[in-house]
Structures are given as C-alpha cells and as structure tokens.
Subunit: 329 residues, 2 copies
C-alpha cells in the first residue's frame, strides 16, 4: 500500500493540513521546523502524492491530452516532441492517443481523454473537407471547454478553436514558384487523400504558381506507402515527359523516391522530387529532398502555449528549402 498524506502527517506529528501545505507549497507559509519534519517523514515513508486525489480536490488536473494520427509518423512525432517539451516546462504531463487517421476515432478519443479533465487538449490530426459532421466534435469540445479545459488545434482552420495555423497554400505556392524558376516545366502532383484539407491546400497552392496545370495528379494516403503507390500508378500510366513531382508531404515524397528507385528512374536526372514539412529524414534521403519547412516542434510547443492563454500567433508561413532533389535545369 502507498502511504497517504495522512500517514505522513501522523509520522511528523502535525495535522493533515500542515502536511499538505508543506509538501505542495501552498501560498500559506509553514514554519520551517514543521516543514522539515514533514519532508523527513515523507521521505522516510516513501510518500508519493496521488495526483488523482489532488485533481479531485482541486477540481483540475495537470495533464495535457494530445491526439495525433500516428505517433510513428515523423510529422506527428516531431509535433509530439514539441508538445512534450512545452508541457514539461510548465509541469504538465502528456497523455497521447492516436486516431490511425480515422476521423470517427477522433471524436471518441476526445471523449475518452476528456474523462481525465486535462487542462489542455491538442488536436493535431487533419480535417476532412467532406467531413460527415464536425458539429459533433465541436459540441464535444465546447462541453470540454465549458468545463474549464482549453483546446488547441494544429493546422486545422475553420473550427471555432484556437489554432496553430500553417499557411500550406502559400508555402506550396512558393515551392511551385521556385520550381518554375529552376526551369521545371511539366509537373506531377502526389496529392494525398482527396478530401483532406491540408493535402488539398498544398496541392492547390502548388498548382497556383504554375504557368500550366500539372500534367497529372494522383491521390493516395498521406503516408509513405501512399506516396509509393501514387507514384507507382503514375509510373504505370507513363510519366509523359514530366520533370518534377511534388508530393504534398515528405513521407509521401520518400515513398515516391522509393518507387522511382525501384523502377530505375534516376532522381533528379530524369525527374525532380519535392515534399513538404521538412521532417528530419528529408535531408537524409538520397538525394536530399527539397521541401517546405514547417518547424514542427515549435508548432507543437505553440499549441500548448496558445491553449494556455498565449496569443494565437499569425499563421506560420513555411519556408522553401532547396536541396539536391531539385537542381536547376
């Protein structure tokens, strides 16, 4: 059995209240001698506070709930790292749950994690433009907020909650412009899931910078394998002189690179490849990937900051990073 605060108080010969004040350092001042006695007793008994009990008594917990699509995806694990760091800095503990890219699951998880009454809830999945009904999610989050919780979204605009917004459109447009000025002329887009807002914005932003529409667009999952198969199907159809492929995120670009390599298509000699996000591996694949950098860890940190009351920052405009996967033509 774990010793309770009551045990500590008895051992120290003080009241429960004094022990509580000495250990968690409330605003009240405890005489040094007593505090010392309490601390010694706590150490002697191996006392560990019970945060559940504290949460019940205080009416608020010390945790942040984080919902991501897939923790093994470098995009989300980088965000998680930022959330973890920011939470740690303010003494909060982080509970993580994954949707596996299932929108319905997200609502369930909001309910599930909401049971912990976390101080903050960060949602980092992505919205679907054709979503059945975001109203249920909104209602659930409203309930959560009315109970004193704070919500922050990452990269999902259009919802009535604080959001760390990433300007996917202009980032992608900048990349498109860079590609054009490097001399590329025939573009192909690995566009991700058809109804995923982030994917659409990036795809559209990229296209908006081109003098001519992309010669082909292939949809696929927002994952490495999605990139691999989208690229493969494009290859099956014949590249038809395309000289540049834009994958709407880096993990898809990595998949595309693998597909290209498996087919023996030289990159960047025959075709250039670019991604989006600048996840850590982007610079370590061969050739190093041109991409659009989003400071993911900072985005994660910002999400807990705004949930905790910081001003919502202006939309983050990601920066084009040119690497050898897209040399000048």
């Amino acid at each position: 059995m774990n010793p309770t605060l009551y045990d500590v108080a008895r051992e120290a010969g003080v009241s429960l209240a004094t022990a509580s004040r000495a250990i968690n350092g409330s605003s009240r001042v405890v005489k040094d001698e007593y505090r010392e006695r309490v601390l010694v007793a706590a150490r002697k008994l191996g006392y560990t506070a019970n945060v559940s009990a504290q949460a019940v008594a205080r009416g608020s917990s010390s945790s942040v709930a984080l919902i991501v699509s897939d923790i093994a995806d470098p995009y989300f694990s980088a965000i998680a790292a930022g959330v973890l760091r920011a939470a740690d800095a303010v003494g909060l503990v982080v509970t993580i749950a994954v949707t596996n890219r299932d929108a319905g699951r997200e609502l369930e998880l909001v309910k599930l994690l909401g049971r912990q009454r976390p101080r903050v809830m960060v949602l980092a999945g992505s919205r679907f433009t054709d979503e059945d009904d975001p109203r249920l999610l909104i209602a659930e989050l409203d309930d959560y907020q009315s109970g004193g919780g704070r919500v922050a979204f990452i990269s999902q605009t259009g919802l009535p909650f604080a959001t760390v917004e990433i300007d996917n459109t202009s980032g992608a447009r900048a990349l498109g412009a860079a590609a054009v000025s490097l001399g590329y002329r025939r573009f192909v887009v690995l566009a991700g899931p058809e109804h995923l807002a982030t994917a659409r914005d990036r795809s559209a932003g990229f296209a908006s910078a081109l003098p001519v529409p992309p010669v082909a667009i292939a949809h696929g999952d927002f994952t490495r394998d999605g990139g691999y198969s989208a690229m493969s199907s494009l290859l099956d159809d014949g590249l038809d002189g395309a000289d540049f492929v834009f994958a709407v995120n880096d993990v898809m670009a990595v998949g595309a690179l693998a597909a290209l390599r498996d087919r023996g298509v030289p990159v960047p000699e025959q075709i250039a490849v670019a991604g989006f996000d600048d996840v850590p591996i982007a610079s370590d694949v061969t050739p190093p990937l041109t991409t659009v950098r989003v400071a993911l860890e900072e985005v994660g940190e910002a999400s807990v900051a705004i949930a905790l009351g910081a001003d919502v920052p202006a939309p983050i405009t990601p920066e084009v990073i040119l690497r050898s996967s897209t040399p000048a033509r």
Copy 2:
C-alpha cells in the same frame, strides 16, 4: 461546470449508486428501465465520467506510463506506437514522458509519472553500464510495485523487473557473420555511447563474428548526429582501406550515410554500411540499409502485455536483413 454523476442521478430520479452502476456497468445488475433512464439523463446533461474521481474511489487508475529517450527518434516512436495499440486494446490510456537521454531524468520521471498511480509503467530508455546507482531507480520502482503497479522494461536486462529482452549480441554477431561471408574484410564500428549497454552489446557481438578485430571504433551519441560525427571523425583519420561500417543503430547509420555522401565516398562501392533495428526509414534511404530487424511495435505491445501479467517471452532474436548497402564483394 461539468455535470456530475449526482446530477445525472437526480435527473434520472434514481440514487447515486444506481447511476454509478448503470453507467460503468458494475457486476451488479440494474433494472433495464432504470439503466435506460440513467443513460438518457447522462446523454441529456452531457455527462462525462471523471477518471480522477474514479481512480480515487477505486484505488487504481486506467493509465500506462511510458518513458522513452526521445519520442522523435523512430526507434522510440515505433515502440510507442506498439504500447499505444496494446494499451488501447485493453482500455488503458498512455502517458508519455521523455528523458532526452539523461539517465538522471529517468528517475525523476518515474517519480513524476508514479504520482498518477498508473496501472503499468514501461521504461524504454537504455541502461548505462557505469550507472551511478541503479539502486535508486530500483527502489523507486519497488515502491511503485508495492503500491500495486506493474513495471516492464524494454531491452534492459540485469534489473529485477520483467523485461522484453532483445538479444543484441547474437543479432549483431549474425550481422558480422553475414558481412564476412559477403566478402568484407576490414571493418569499422560506429559504437555509440561508451557506456550504453545496448551499444556495447551490439558492438561486441559484431566484433565477435569477425576473423580480425575492427580496424577502428568510433564512439558517439546514439543519434543521427552522433552517427554523422563519428563517421566524420573516422573519415578525418583516413578510412585506411576499411570496406564495411557497422553503426550500432539505424539512425546512426543514416547519419553515417550522410557523412559519407557529404565527403563524396560512394556507398556501397567504396564502403558498405549496415545498421541495427530496421526502423521504417532504413529501407528508404539510398542505398537501402542492411540492418538487423527488431519488431519494434511488437516489442512495445509485448511490454504492456508482460506488465499486465503475460509470460515474459524468450529474448527476441533479431533477424539480419540484407539490402543493397552491403552487396556481396
């Protein structure tokens, strides 16, 4: 304010006890009519159970605590994915904290996360052979266990707790043997931190399969950058005819690949490279990396299984995966 169970009971016109039984489905049976009324009332009020209060009343929580070195490292994020999946399957929620590879931090985190009285605690960092004093950690974990918690370690033998053991030595030895039979003769090892048990085992296992000792061993962090700098310093010293470099984990191997590429050393033509773990990107770098596969997600799942009482599995013997970074000579 969040509605409480009391509110629900009142709304449904039943007692608190009945509402509790109807909602969490205790062993007691509640008359259908009452149950229905309670459920309707709960929905109407938007009732959400408060797990902290449940934990206090029940004396046990429904969470698992996971401690890893760095969630952005693919090795740990893969393990985390497994832990998350296994926890989800049994209705447990996961709290994650990172040590940033600081051994002292691990003890602090055990204390910190222990305050939640998690049902299970999984430690996935790595032990240092020269550790100041594992006794403190052990004592802390013993306390935790005596309070009813269950501990599981991943890949860290020698501690008196259930462990998902990875046979690093034999995996590395098998890789060494494979390298020899492929025709390689002059080996170099990127050995990781000097006192990290996992790194030492892998390094020693590999060397034990060679006819001659490695021509050089470079230590460095167990990270991508550690691999990059270890490889760089070896390059500075002159490779001296080495034809094979073994990095004790994949992320270091990826760093080594980058260092080699930056210096213009062709891989695998001039020198072959192999890693360990088979993290997802291993097969996506160029050339695809020969490695020793550890089923990381399964390891994560196994850790919660054994903590929950499953039999401790035999040490996992990882499997050599030959890819193009180590062609036959």
